[in-house]
Symmetry: C2
Subunit: 220 residues, 2 copies
């Protein structure tokens, strides 16, 4: 799969630097958010700022590369779920796994929800994950397990809600996320026959709709 | 009810300034968050910075006063619900109203979730709202409508989830919040007899537990 930065022409020491930068950036984004200064990433990686900028000319290119793995993981989760013979189980598994990834890694959500102009491959994988999830949704509805008025916007709503969790440790965040997801999955289940309980209308949210929103915001 | 800033001794023009400051601050906190510079609030209010600081020596004292009304509204919502003969209806109404307030006003949540050292009255009202809600919870469980394993931490979880909503307008935020709350209230309902569906454990969250967390955080 093509990557924003092609590594095939790199010498061994350059590749070593590159991997150290990516590891430092991944950790810095996850703990400090996407706004962490480039100089701080270079320091954590033990490389000069010039080296960092030579490899990754923009913060966006670094973010794209750092999160390419996570995006691939998302796509894999959806692909696995599509192979699940039980569509409701597949649907729940995707939501549980993606929310756990989101809870474990603060930077992940921002990358997932934000568009960067040069994040072409990132975008392609998001579209693939989105289409796969739409197919899962259709199957779970056809199986009578997912409520008929579940909309794609509800996935965005769930990811936003999950991103609102603030905890003192990654373990607590994960615990809180599991509880929230368990509640929401219960409520996504189809009503028993003859007991329809309509919901208020879904907001006009799509992953695409969220591109314009700033990844940095204050609480509240 | 005692207020952080006693207004009884103020002359008419001073009171007029005070109200303009509070109105400007309320609007600035709601739209820009609690971190908005004091000078920007003074400018919006059309008063000098010195006047602002004479009236409100610290940002905390201004926040406390601005949100005293909202805290009172919260307490009223809980008090009204306690007078509702249907405990499940009362429980749902509190959650719907508080989440709508939270969705309509970004500053509100931060004030609600954050402790300020001199926000004594604010704190007292929060404790009162918290105790009232605990009583509502007990009654809704006794009536067999609220699931027995609902915990106070779930209210915190719901407020966090609701605060994760990011929308392009207050109307969209409110629409999204209503949908999220409708989903969560469905899932808070007691399981039908003989169909118990246990939840993962609740996180160790309390409103008190959240005091140590910073009100300013980045998305994700």
């Amino acid at each position: 799969m093509p990557r924003p930065a092609d590594t095939s022409g790199l010498r061994v020491d350059a590749l070593h630097n590159r991997n150290r930068i990516l590891e430092a950036a991944r950790e810095a984004f996850a703990t400090l958010g996407l706004g962490v200064p480039m100089a701080a990433i270079a320091r954590r990686a033990g490389v000069g700022v010039a080296t960092l900028y030579r490899r990754f000319p923009t913060r966006e290119s670094l973010i794209t590369e750092v999160f390419a793995d996570q995006m691939e993981a998302c796509v894999s989760v959806v692909d696995e779920a599509l192979a699940d013979p039980d569509p409701w189980h597949g649907f729940c598994t995707v939501i549980e796994k993606v929310c756990a990834m989101q809870a474990a890694d603060r930077g992940f959500t921002a990358a997932f929800l934000t568009a960067f102009p040069d994040a072409v491959d990132h975008e392609r994988e998001r579209v693939r994950a989105e289409r796969g999830f739409a197919e899962l949704t259709r199957r779970a509805k056809d199986a009578g397990r997912l409520r008929a008025d579940f909309e794609p916007a509800d996935l965005v709503l769930l990811l936003m809600a999950n991103s609102g969790i603030v905890a003192e440790s990654a373990e607590e965040a994960l615990m809180a996320s599991r509880r929230l997801v368990a509640y929401l999955l219960r409520s996504f289940q189809a009503d028993p026959p003859g007991r329809a309980d309509p919901l208020p209308p879904a907001p006009p949210f799509g992953l695409r709709h969220m591109y314009g929103l700033s990844p940095a915001r204050s609480a509240g």
